[in-house]
């Protein structure tokens, strides 16, 4: 599995499609931290809300980095769709974790207010939950689940917006709400964390099941 992830990473880095989601998210982070971002914990709400769609986008980029024919070669070399799709999910999770870590340490470095370690850890956990949810949704929006670019983009946009439409429901809305109130964050993070992991596993299983049927 480690070679599979390394192969995918090398391929993603050689292409340049990973840059737009990272640049857009970097710009959003810069915007949030240009002035006073507000009280430490609630300052993370904005970067959490934007990490979710950025993670969806980045995951779609990773899942579709290989064209379908080269993907077929990789699937056979890996010994089946299951391992190949698990590698996509794993690499996406690693990438999003790195982005979440960066987004968690930027405010304590540039904001004038003091950021206790506990607040940074909670902020990182909230970013991670939102990012991993994005990975789960991204896997569902990419090949082999959705094979056409147009539908993929439309579905990703619709699911990104849908997470904010229903108020404070897991896995995104409740975390953003708890960050804003600076209250009840830990129990909400646990609920959303479980949701994110279930979504990750379910979306990977869906993609490995649909891969050989669509082919």
């Amino acid at each position: 599995m480690s070679y599979l992830v390394r192969y995918l990473l090398a391929d993603v880095l050689r292409g340049q499609r990973f840059l737009p989601p990272l640049l857009v998210y970097g710009a959003v982070l810069a915007m949030f931290n240009a002035g006073d971002a507000g009280p430490p914990l609630s300052a993370y709400a904005g970067s959490c809300a934007f990490l979710y769609p950025a993670a969806v986008w980045l995951t779609v980029v990773i899942a579709t980095s290989e064209d379908p024919v080269r993907r077929a070669v990789t699937v056979v070399a890996a010994g089946g769709w299951g391992r190949a799709q698990a590698a996509v999910t794993l690499l996406s999770c690693l990438a999003v974790t790195a982005v979440a870590l960066a987004a968690a340490v930027v405010p304590p470095l540039v904001q004038p207010r003091p950021y206790p370690v506990a607040v940074v850890v909670l902020g990182f956990a909230a970013l991670l939950v939102c990012g991993l949810t994005g990975v789960g949704v991204g896997v569902l929006c990419a090949r082999p689940v959705i094979t056409r670019h147009g539908w993929s983009a439309l579905t990703a946009a619709a699911l990104a917006v849908a997470a904010f439409l229903f108020g404070q429901v897991p896995p995104i809305g409740n975390v953003l709400g708890a960050l804003g109130r600076e209250h009840d964050l830990v129990p909400n993070l646990v609920v959303s964390g479980v949701c994110a992991v279930v979504l990750l596993v379910a979306s990977t299983v869906v993609s490995r099941t649909l891969g050989p049927r669509r082919d």
Binding site: Y3, D67, A72, V73, T74, A77, P212
Partner: protein, 247 residues
């Protein structure tokens, strides 16, 4: 060894791309699948390689499979050497640059594969597939290769000790190979019947019938073109129902 047992493939409720194909490929006896365009050769290979799930039938295949697609993509940014090293790692074997050299590779192994010619890209794709240890599934492996590389490929395939399944349009000679034609032969008509029952033996005995097999509750009959009308009339007279007629 790979065993395909009465496999069929269709997408959704579309027409059958492959129907009722049974095939066993063992090491030492390469199988060359032949047939015209659109007879399902590539689909059969994708099922054998484990990429595509058959809509009917069963497949058993070994663990280590090498797959060569019909057209390896052209715009790959990874260099050839990195691609082979990483994919060999995925398989858990050592990279085999000697295979690339044996095939007469010309080009920069550390430049993006997009800069290589079609033939040299094909050599990299072949070297990737040939590192498998149990089964080789090669779709048009001679495509784009010069004569010398084509001859080396025959030797490499024979020396691999794997079960080998290939398609070929140009009559290349693999020693000891068995040729398996797909679809109707030239000019043949395939008639699919329902409600056949006892009538199958009488239909099989009609003039011009090349092959008649029970499939599920019905039958698949292949007949010479000049005899197809008489076969249809006889089948209807015997109480069968005609499901499809293809030529």
């Amino acid at each position: 060894m790979v065993r395909l047992d009465r496999i069929g493939k269709r997408y959704g409720r579309g027409p059958w791309v492959l129907r009722d194909v049974t095939l066993v490929v063992e090491p030492g006896e390469p199988v060359v699948v032949t047939g015209g365009n659109g007879t399902g050769k590539s689909t059969l290979l994708r099922i054998a390689a484990g990429l595509s799930r058959p809509s009917a039938g069963r497949v058993t295949r070994p663990r280590s499979v090498g797959y060569l697609p019909e057209r390896f993509p052209t715009g790959v940014k990874l260099p050839a050497r990195d691609y082979l090293r990483l994919l060999a790692g995925v398989r858990g074997v050592a990279a085999r640059w000697d295979l690339v050299e044996a095939l007469g590779f010309v080009g920069d192994p550390d430049a993006p594969m997009a800069t290589l010619s079609k033939g040299n890209t094909q050599k990299i794709a072949l070297a990737q597939a040939l590192t498998a240890t149990d089964l080789l599934v090669l779709d048009e492996p001679w495509s784009g290769l010069d004569a010398a590389a084509g001859a080396v490929l025959v030797d490499l395939v024979a020396a691999s000790g794997c079960a080998v399944l290939v398609t070929d349009h140009h009559g290349h000679d693999l020693p000891g190979a068995r040729r398996v034609p797909l679809g109707a032969g030239p000019g043949g008509v395939v008639v699919e019947l329902d409600r056949v029952g006892e009538a199958l033996a009488r239909i099989a005995a009609l003039d011009g019938v090349r092959d008649a097999r029970a499939v599920g509750g019905g039958a698949r009959v292949e007949v010479e073109p000049g005899h197809s009308d008489r076969l249809l009339a006889e089948a209807l007279r015997l109480g069968c129902s005609v499901r499809s007629v293809r030529s």
